[in-house]
């Protein structure tokens, strides 16, 4: 217990003894983690946007004329059983016309007289939970003799899915690269710290300090520096995000941007955790070279 206290104290002293190097390390770690945080925020929003768009996706199954209500109902039941289908409603051609009328509003009079030869078709409107379900529904009903036509934003959905996937991969790769860069920076910083303290470390060895007593203060130091960088990054990204969010709310209100409170906890957590892991790993790597421990 007192050793733990000693290690913490030593890490703090070591940071204090070399404030410029420490601050420089914190800020370089912050910059790398800032990019990570930015991309995590972007990813969260992209995910949100994809979900939002997917939620908008409906499939309309237009039926041929004169389909018997019983056949229609069995088709409806079939589609309702497909995974990802959330809701399915029958829209009769009369209802469809009524909707059109509502849409026309005060110009509805234009539609007068159309009732006699209503050109619209009966349809099943399917609301799906994910883009993948769209394809399932389309596959299932395509061949049915009852179906006249299927309409859905296939192109849009497919593109969105592939774009999100590519972006996620890219983000993951970039985050990995930046993580490596941070690891390298922390490693360098701890190496300098070991170098600055080589005298002290050699005396520690001489008076019988175990390897862990030599190692832990340095690991703590790496963790504190990287986690400090992570906090700075989270704070900075939070402030900028909040500002952007407000600006977006004014100008692009239709875009679903997540509020800060919804993302900061998760993003901050990931960033700080990444910082801690990178800090510890960087310190251990630095020591493997320098202390042969």
């Amino acid at each position: 217990m007192s050793l733990f206290g000693y290690c913490l104290r030593e890490a703090r002293k070591s940071i204090g003894r070399n404030p410029f190097l420490s601050i420089a390390t914190v800020f370089t770690a912050a910059i790398a983690l800032l990019v990570l945080a930015t991309f995590l925020l972007g990813a969260a929003n992209l995910q949100n946007l994809a979900e939002f768009v997917e939620r908008q996706v409906n499939v309309a199954i237009f039926l041929r004329d004169g389909v018997a209500p019983a056949d229609r109902d069995s088709l409806k039941a079939n589609v309702a059983g497909i995974a990802g289908v959330e809701e399915i409603t029958f829209v009769s051609r009369e209802t469809a016309l009524q909707r059109l009328r509502d849409k026309f509003g005060e110009n509805a009079a234009l539609l007068d007289g159309i009732d006699e030869f209503n050109p619209l078709r009966d349809s099943l409107e399917v609301r799906v939970g994910s883009a993948a379900a769209v394809d399932l529904v389309a596959e299932a009903v395509k061949a049915s003799p009852l179906v006249d036509e299927i309409s859905y934003g296939k192109e849009l959905v497919a593109r969105l899915v592939s774009v999100t996937r590519a972006l996620r991969l890219g983000i993951l790769g970039l985050a990995g690269l930046l993580g490596l860069a941070t690891l390298f920076l922390i490693q360098n910083s701890i190496r300098l710290s070991v170098f600055a303290r080589r005298e002290e470390i050699s005396i520690m060895r001489l008076v019988g300090a175990t390897d862990s007593v030599i190692r832990w203060p340095l690991v703590f130091e790496g963790i504190v520096l990287a986690a400090g960088g992570a906090l700075v990054a989270t704070l900075a990204v939070g402030v900028v995000y909040q500002w952007l969010w407000q600006a977006m709310g004014r100008n692009l209100a239709f875009l679903p941007v997540l509020p800060l409170a919804a993302v900061l906890g998760r993003v901050g957590g990931v960033v700080v955790l990444t910082g801690v892991v990178i800090g510890a790993a960087g310190a251990l790597l630095a020591m493997r070279r320098w202390l042969r421990v």
């Binding site: 000693y6 003894r17 520690m204 001489l206 008076v207 390897d211 007593v213």
Partner: protein, 237 residues
């Protein structure tokens, strides 16, 4: 306490530092190791605290063969051996007290224990009053006494000093040797490598002379009456 059995040491580039050294030191003995530069004195001392391992032969400390000691046990061996160097090796950013306490801190001692023993060690070398001073505020002799306090604060059974008076004037050197000697009187085995002929002559005790890696003389001067009364005759000089 310490035993060298036919120890040889060959460094890189075939430099032979020790050749067939046989040597025993008993508990509480005070031994000078002398010899010309490059004779292998430092090498010999470094083997005692396992900074070096023999190329041939064996070194035993308290009956343990150091070559067979696991790496993880080395720190514990060293807690039982105090070491003093010519260049003090104090940490400049720490006070006298902190420099001494350092040796206890890294072993995980409790803070009241650290305080008690550090104070005791400083008392022993007469530095109680200077405990808040930083190394640059101390004279050479005081710095070396700080380093001596650090070496003994763990109550080691063995104290090894490699030219401890090398950076001190003769008078201060003599005083420091007196402190080392007092420590040996308390039962610690003390090994001192030195060039200071006059001091060796004054402290008439066991002298081991190395030349080109071999022990060429190992005698106990007049006035040497065994471990506990070692050097009694030389003290007042």
């Amino acid at each position: 306490m310490i035993e060298f059995r036919n120890v040889s040491k060959v460094y890189d580039h075939n430099i032979r530092a020790l050749a067939g050294v046989d040597f025993r030191v008993g508990k509480g003995e005070f031994v000078f190791v002398v010899g010309p530069s490059g004779a292998g004195k430092s090498t010999m001392l470094r083997m005692v605290y396992r900074e070096e391992l023999p190329s041939e032969g064996q070194v035993f400390v308290e009956g343990r063969d150091l070559a067979r000691l696991r790496a993880a046990s080395v720190p514990y061996l060293r807690r039982g051996i105090g070491v003093v160097f010519q260049d003090f090796k104090l940490l400049p950013s720490r006070t006298t007290f902190e420099n001494v306490a350092f040796a206890l801190e890294v072993t995980g001692a409790r803070s009241y224990e650290i305080k008690r023993r550090t104070t005791q060690a400083l008392e022993l070398v007469g530095l109680r009053g200077r405990q808040r001073a930083y190394p640059h505020e101390l004279s050479g002799g005081e710095q070396q006494r700080t380093s001596l306090a650090r070496a003994v604060v763990n109550s080691p059974k063995i104290l090894v000093a490699d030219e401890p008076t090398g950076n001190l004037d003769p008078q201060t050197g003599r005083q420091l040797m007196q402190y080392l000697h007092n420590i040996s009187l308390m039962g610690t085995t003390v090994l001192v490598a030195t060039h200071a002929r006059s001091i060796v002559d004054e402290f008439q005790c066991r002298v081991v002379r190395l030349e080109r890696g071999r022990i060429v003389r190992d005698d106990q001067r007049a006035g040497y009456f065994g471990p506990l009364s070692a050097c009694a005759d030389g003290e007042e000089v």
